[in-house]
Symmetry: C2
Subunit: 485 residues, 2 copies
């Protein structure tokens, strides 16, 4: 390098440093400006900018999803404060990531760089429970289990019961249209949302839906927000439908010599017109993992364990009929629970499944493929073939009555080859689901984890119309950017 060039390089370096410094100042200025504006409409304790604190809000419970560094975390207590946050975000063109309890499994609540993380956890009031109208009016930060217990005290029932129900919030449940064990009889969260108050990207307050049992005035914008993963608006209040509390459920367990036989039993039960309150499947890997974690004493010789429950007045008779169908489909043992307590133990074993599978290896990726229940056997056999081909442990628990499987791909992230095989398996399972006429996500949502796969499921026209709807509600693209599509 000659003197001239050295000088040029030095000047260029100095220039770069000056630009960096200026950007840093600009970045600092922008952050100060953001903080200043937020504080104009929020109390000081509701605006967090300490990087060590805000970092703890960066991710939900999904593995292997990128997350950025938020500029601020805000914890509003009123709809007006949420409106202020979104007006500020629009004015400064700052992205906003709405968050509940961050129990999601797809990275849908992960922060993006420079974003405002909008946590709804402090908006946690149950505003109304009405046994005559069978509705509850709640803020988004109410924990699912808190609501469930509160309505139970009045003889009512809020069915949606995601595994994380002791932590997850109604707002988060609405964001992903969460399911749970009850869905085979009671459906998912979407079916319990009658009306919403939503703050739009520009801060306007939109009221959708109703408090009535029926209503067809205009487009169903309520359902458009349910499952939109915070990308169309921020829910600040919800009117939820409730049901009368059913009798406590009674369960049975049936052991099968193959997953296919268990799936045949599921089909027979549904074709016979039964309406179980729960119809779950655990494969051999899951059963053993649960025994290992919880000493549950489940039968380890079984290839597939089917759990069925009824919450009807004639539960014993219903269980007997289902037991007979299981036997006809090849069950080697059918064991009805002695009582409600034993039934509850079986359910606990099922609820423990994901955690138990996660404990098998250093890391896991959880699929959420839902297929028509008539294709469930093909889905399980195909998943076993994927595991064999990639020499991996993939345990499957499934909401079998809904055809919704959770294959859990177990691997060691320190092993690059195994990690690559895990990733490939995770994808092949989704491809199989689509081939069988299913969906890539029955209840966990898309987030960042399944973005590429959503495009594949929707197809080009579907994706175009998704973008058009997003554009209609959030023309600046500020709400939860980089998620879904």
């Amino acid at each position: 390098m000659d003197a001239k060039n050295a000088e040029d390089a030095k000047n260029a370096e100095a220039g770069r440093n000056a630009v960096d410094a200026k950007n840093a100042v600009a970045g600092k200025d922008a952050e100060d400006e953001l903080r200043h504006r937020l504080l104009a409409g929020l109390p000081a304790e509701a605006v967090l900018t300490d990087p060590e604190v805000t970092a703890s809000y960066a991710t939900d419970m999904a593995s292997f999803c990128p997350a950025g560094t938020p500029a601020a975390v805000v914890l509003p207590r009123t709809a007006e404060q949420v409106q202020h946050v979104l007006r500020t975000a629009t004015a400064l063109r700052v992205p906003v990531v709405p968050q509940g309890a961050r129990t999601g499994l797809s990275g849908g609540a992960n922060a993006t760089d420079g974003a405002i993380v909008l946590s709804l956890l402090k908006m946690d009031r149950i505003l109304e429970i009405d046994p005559v109208d069978r509705i509850a009016v709640v803020e988004p930060g109410v924990v699912n289990a808190v609501l469930s217990r509160a309505v139970a005290e009045q003889g009512l029932y809020y069915p949606p019961d995601p595994s994380s129900w002791e932590q997850c919030t109604i707002g988060g449940n609405i964001g992903t249209a969460s399911g749970g064990l009850c869905c085979v009889k009671y459906g998912v969260t979407a079916e319990y949302v009658l009306g919403l108050d939503v703050v739009l990207a520009d801060g306007r307050l939109l009221r959708t839906g109703r408090r009535t049992a029926k209503g067809v005035a205009g487009y169903d914008l309520t359902r458009l927000f349910v499952g939109s993963e915070g990308s169309l608006g921020v829910v600040v209040q919800a009117v939820l439908a409730l049901r009368p509390a059913p009798p406590r459920q009674l369960a049975l367990a049936a052991e099968f010599p193959s997953a296919a036989a268990a799936c045949a039993a599921v089909c027979a039960v549904m074709a016979a017109g039964h309406t179980p309150s729960l119809l779950e499947l655990m494969d051999r890997t899951t059963v053993r993992a649960v025994n290992r974690l919880g000493r549950m004493g489940l039968p380890e010789s079984t290839e597939a364990l089917l759990l069925a429950a009824f919450d009807t007045p004639q539960a014993e008779a219903d269980l007997a009929a289902v037991g007979a169908l299981c036997a006809a489909a090849g069950a080697t043992a059918v064991v009805p629970a002695e009582d409600e307590a034993e039934s509850e133990l079986l359910l606990q074993a099922r609820r423990m499944s994901l955690t138990a599978l996660e404990a098998l290896r250093p890391a896991t990726m959880i699929d959420d493929v839902c297929v028509p229940r008539s294709r469930l056997a093909e889905m399980l056999d195909g998943t076993a073939a994927v595991a064999a081909r990639h020499r991996l442990t993939i345990g499957v628990c499934a909401h079998a009555g809904d055809g919704n499987t959770h294959p859990v791909v177990c691997f060691d992230p320190a092993d690059a080859d195994e990690t690559a095989r895990a990733r490939a398996s995770f994808d092949e399972i989704m491809a199989l689901g689509l081939e069988l006429g299913g969906t890539i996500t029955g209840e966990h949502g898309v987030g960042v984890l399944k973005k590429d796969w959503l495009a594949r499921e929707l197809g080009p026209v579907g994706l175009e119309m998704h973008r058009a709807v997003k554009q209609a509600f959030d023309p600046l693209g500020l709400l939860n950017p980089g998620k879904l599509f």
Copy 2:
């Protein structure tokens, strides 16, 4: 008028005539062009342009809704033909009015001037009924009763049962998210639509939703189309959820000394956690009208007749409990049906109500206000006050369990003053519904009849977002223009 002015007037007249003639030629040319283009993708018998024939497709069953003169009526048999119609409409900027059986009650299917009326009546195939997956796949022109009977043959149940179920089509039911008598237990049409094939305004085919029991991949565009009254796209195929056939229902009738007492019984029944398959109310005017039309022998001394039914295994016990609640609320008589046949007679009386009320006077306007069921008594008393104030007969039958009332305003259109009072009453009843926290339409839709009222119910932000959604799907505004908003 002097000579000069006379000459000018003559020239002006000649000019006007020339312009009219030119427009007429242009109109004729445009119609020829439209017909020519339609025939490029449709068989001759599927394109009707004889004005005497097309006029018969101009209106649905709503009274007092304006209707225009269509340029053509098309009767496609395939999705590809529907795509051709919409591509043609987009190319020529011709509006399209989708139609089913035209049994609607809000003018939502009324033709507009120069439009293509797109009748889906010939797309009437049931493509699939699957008892394991509990779904049916149908074309939009399938008649509700035809589907209901076909699934019943396989031990299945398609609940939505609008009064017009022997004529109305599934496509029309989807367009208005129709209800019926079953809703108090089974919900409306929207809850049975899992997935749709929709032809968009520009002819692209969009597939929404799924065949699976659950699924949360992307926005719920399926529900956005349900109830959109043909304004966002044309449904050409639907995946519908089915249920196992329940036991035949058993009914009771309870007589009350006042509408308020009957409504108190409704609230008591729902608060006690019952799930009747039907909970209907007929006021004194309705009871008498039904007796007059059908010689049903209903008790004429009652102020309000409540019908309750259960399709549970323990229907007698459920009815006994509801009977006791009715007695406690002041019922003067509680009469359980002797058997299923007598139960069916009671239901027939209820189904006859609208027709019976329509027979009372030369014309009627039918409201469809739904309020929270806790406000039902106020709604009925308020409606009676409207009738008294305007010196009109307003009979009310109601899906009481849902809070969905159908006040039928009876009048003589030959009497201008009475007509004005009828119109005012119709509006005052909707205003009352909104005041009580209800909606202007529980199940009949908005159409042209309640456009002004939709704006009032949605509010300015709601209306803006409706327009934004419409713009996203139909930027040229060709689909069912002038309806909804």
